[in-house]
Amino acid sequence: MSTHDPSGAGGLTRRAILKSAAALGGLALCVRESGGVVLASQTQLYGAAADPGGVVDNPLVFVSIHPDDTVLVTVHRPEMGQGIRTSLALVVADELEADWPRVRVTQAPADEARYGSQDTDGSRSMRHFFQPMRRVGAAARMMLEAAAAARWGVPASEVVAERQRVLHRGTDRRLSYGELAGEAMHQPIPEPRQLRLKDPAQFRYIGKSSTRSVDGGDIVAGRAAYGIDTRLDGMLYAVVARPAVLGGKLVHYDAQAALAVPGVVRVVEIPSHPLPAQYFPLGGVAVLAGNTWAAIKGREALKVQWDEGPNRSYDSRQFETVLQNAVRQPAKVVRNQGDAVAALQKGGKRLEAEYYLPFLAHASMEPPAATARILDGRCEVWAPVQAPQATRDLVTSLLGMKESDVTVNVTLLGGAFGRKSLPDFAGEAALLSKAMQGRPVKVMWTREDDIRHDYYQAVSLQRLEAVLGPDGMPLAWLHRSAAPTENATFEAGAEGEDQTEYGMGMINIPLRIPNVRLEIPPVPAYTRIGWFRSVYNIAHGFAIQSFLDELAHAAGRDPRDYQLELIGPPRRLDPRSLSDEWNYGESPVLYPLDTGRLRAVIERATSEAGWGRSMPKGQGLGLAATYSFMSYAAAVIEVRVGSGGEIVIPRVDLAFDCGAQVNPDRIRAQLEGACIMGLTVAMHGEITFKDGRVQQSNFNDFPVLRMPEAPREIRLHLQPASFEVPPGGVGEPGLPPIAPALCNAIFAATGRRLRRLPIGNPLSNRQSKASPT
């Protein structure tokens, strides 16, 4: 089988565009009136307008109305549990004055030229598409009104659309949307300045939690179709033996025993790709069979010899020494005010601490899986991917086809959390179908494949140093963050966090400290680094919020009061004044860092949790607050630590401010989920490497939180916000405060300070075992 064309590497191209656009900063490509926020005085593009896919708000692309009055809304962002299929559809339906029970949703295939940005990560679907989808709905509504007015020969001002009908005020005539649809689609699309958006007081669905999930019924009946569920006539099932060490190459394999397994049809080599890994398949040997079990048994029977390559001796325990050396010497300065180094050397109470976060695997419940078929020179893929267009680009390049000959259908994603932004598995399916002369092939990853061949959350060591003045408040703050960069997955030799990585919760601390110095040491990567829900905010939030708690205790102060005093009075900070040039790609004017909102979530969470109440020995409350993805979150966790070290969490109070709230019930669901996932990060999950290999394999040695460990109660406190406040992210920002809040609570309960995640093992000998049924 042929390999890819490196010069036309689609995955690289797309990523490179993103990176170079970020690097060039002020380069103005074009200004689209409909896209994001473009300020007249600036050439920089922000929001979705700065993404390669941009914004599309053409109603004819997203809405079709059928003669039977069914309203079909096309959702272009993948659904991975965040509820976006429901939430974007309800925005369109509301402005359209559609009746929710008549709304159906269809999932867009990969096509950013048609739909705009589909890259679903960074908690930005609603941030970037709330207003465009409002415009889509409003434009469609006005076109229906115009069609009715034309049919009746009356001025458009005399007709009004309401609940799926257009009425003529004077004569009480009415026409249903279904009756008008054919004529409406030929009406001119209203110009942006003519659009009449609803007053928020008129919203029926936006902000109401009145719309049940469009997929809920299918989910509870087992009808919902995920990537793993694709079935095509004549389809083969493939399981792949991949090199255990990143960069490993196949030397030799013997397929005889595999081919003898009943049901096995073929054994096919997948070529490896030179490092950096990018989105490309890892290479290896695929066993194709008539069913999944035969493919699994066939792979077990394979005899494969590998050349393990340059990463064969990587050891994550030894790598901790590299990280320690990195954070204990001066490094690249990314923010500097005053003279922290001099201040740290003067008198005063001096504190220093190092915080460790291990590699993490995403472990979405649906492991990677994808299906491809090639027919008449066209390739069609079905895959659970967060980055549909990148998947299409990858398949296009791997097969040497034209983009127009590649279709990528986006299935439901059975969890993703960042893993499925990287579509190597879909590339495997395409290559295998090609090797089988176009026959449909479904690639299945086992859990072991998923744990061992992830794009991991980066390991990191954070060092913080501070010196306290006579009043106990810090005079100096030094923070070094050592972690491999996700860029290393795309560019050979990239080292240390870049501005989009230290931009996640490190650079922009809004604390009133006179001397601040933030540094990024160069640290190499020896495995594929990817994005994990809330990404570098996890390590930065854990370190900063733990250290603030340490400082408060050293100063003899209450941690809440101490943090509020450091934040200071409410003010709107330009992120650039904090050396944050990135700001999650958002306008610093539209999205300043609002210390008033940060204070408010801290005050809300602590007051709801009964902060300051006296608690028996072994129990405590811990606080942490973080600002990420343009949203503010504060968690107070109540913990009870048993004599054997067992941790019980009676309650979590999480206050959250994401600005405008479109679907409050799904916001709550995302926060509950972020809390549970944050507790897994805090208590359980750790990926380690020895001899270049991942040592974990499944939920026995990469445990995740189970129901008995879940908090007895998660109380969510959504800050009221008007629709004047632009929406912030929802999927990720609930996670960063969880681990530090838990560790701070454990300190309050036991006096024991935990600076290394996961904490599970040092506190007790508990093993998380599956309870057999």
Binding site: V220, A224, N291, W293, I296, E366, M707
Partner: protein, 156 residues
């Protein structure tokens, strides 16, 4: 080798080796894809179905162990009142996020409510401890099980 099974009340014939896990028989041979693969080691519960009324992890249950016994999968669980009550409670409380593990969760919940119609929080935790949800829907699953139990008690 051909075997006869009874799935959701329907007799079916499958051609598969007797060691094939029931999971792959259901999914690949019979096209019942509602039952999910999660771990392959009986650790996560995504593949739970009922065999002769008992919750079973199909990823570690060979086809040979299911022959001659009635099998109920998520596609058929709504055919009785307990299954329906659980499905309705799941919808009313918006339990699912990605939804992938929910078939297994629902099968465990239905088995719990059949065995103990008045479950305590502790009963729920221990019955559901074998089912992993990576999205973190545990608080709503707990609430939905209690809601379904209440609903079943009030409308016997």
């Amino acid at each position: 080798m051909q075997s006869e099974l009874s799935v959701n009340g329907v007799p079916v014939k499958v051609e598969a080796t007797p060691d094939t896990p029931l999971l792959w028989v259901l999914r690949d041979h019979l096209g019942l894809t509602g039952t999910k693969f999660g771990c392959g080691m009986g650790l996560c519960g995504a593949c739970n179905v009922h065999v002769a009324g008992q919750p079973v992890r199909t990823c570690v249950t060979p086809l040979s162990a299911a022959i001659g016994k009635p099998i109920t999968t998520v596609e058929g669980v709504g055919r009785d009142r307990v299954g329906r009550a659980v499905q309705e409670a799941w919808l009313a409380l918006g339990v699912a996020q990605c939804g992938y593990c929910q078939a297994g969760q629902i099968m465990s919940a239905v088995a719990l409510l059949r065995a103990s119609p008045h479950p305590t929080d502790q009963d729920v935790d221990s019955a559901m401890a074998g089912n992993i949800c990576r999205c973190g829907t545990y608080p709503r699953i707990r609430a939905a099980i209690h809601r379904a139990a209440e609903q079943l008690r009030s409308a016997p």
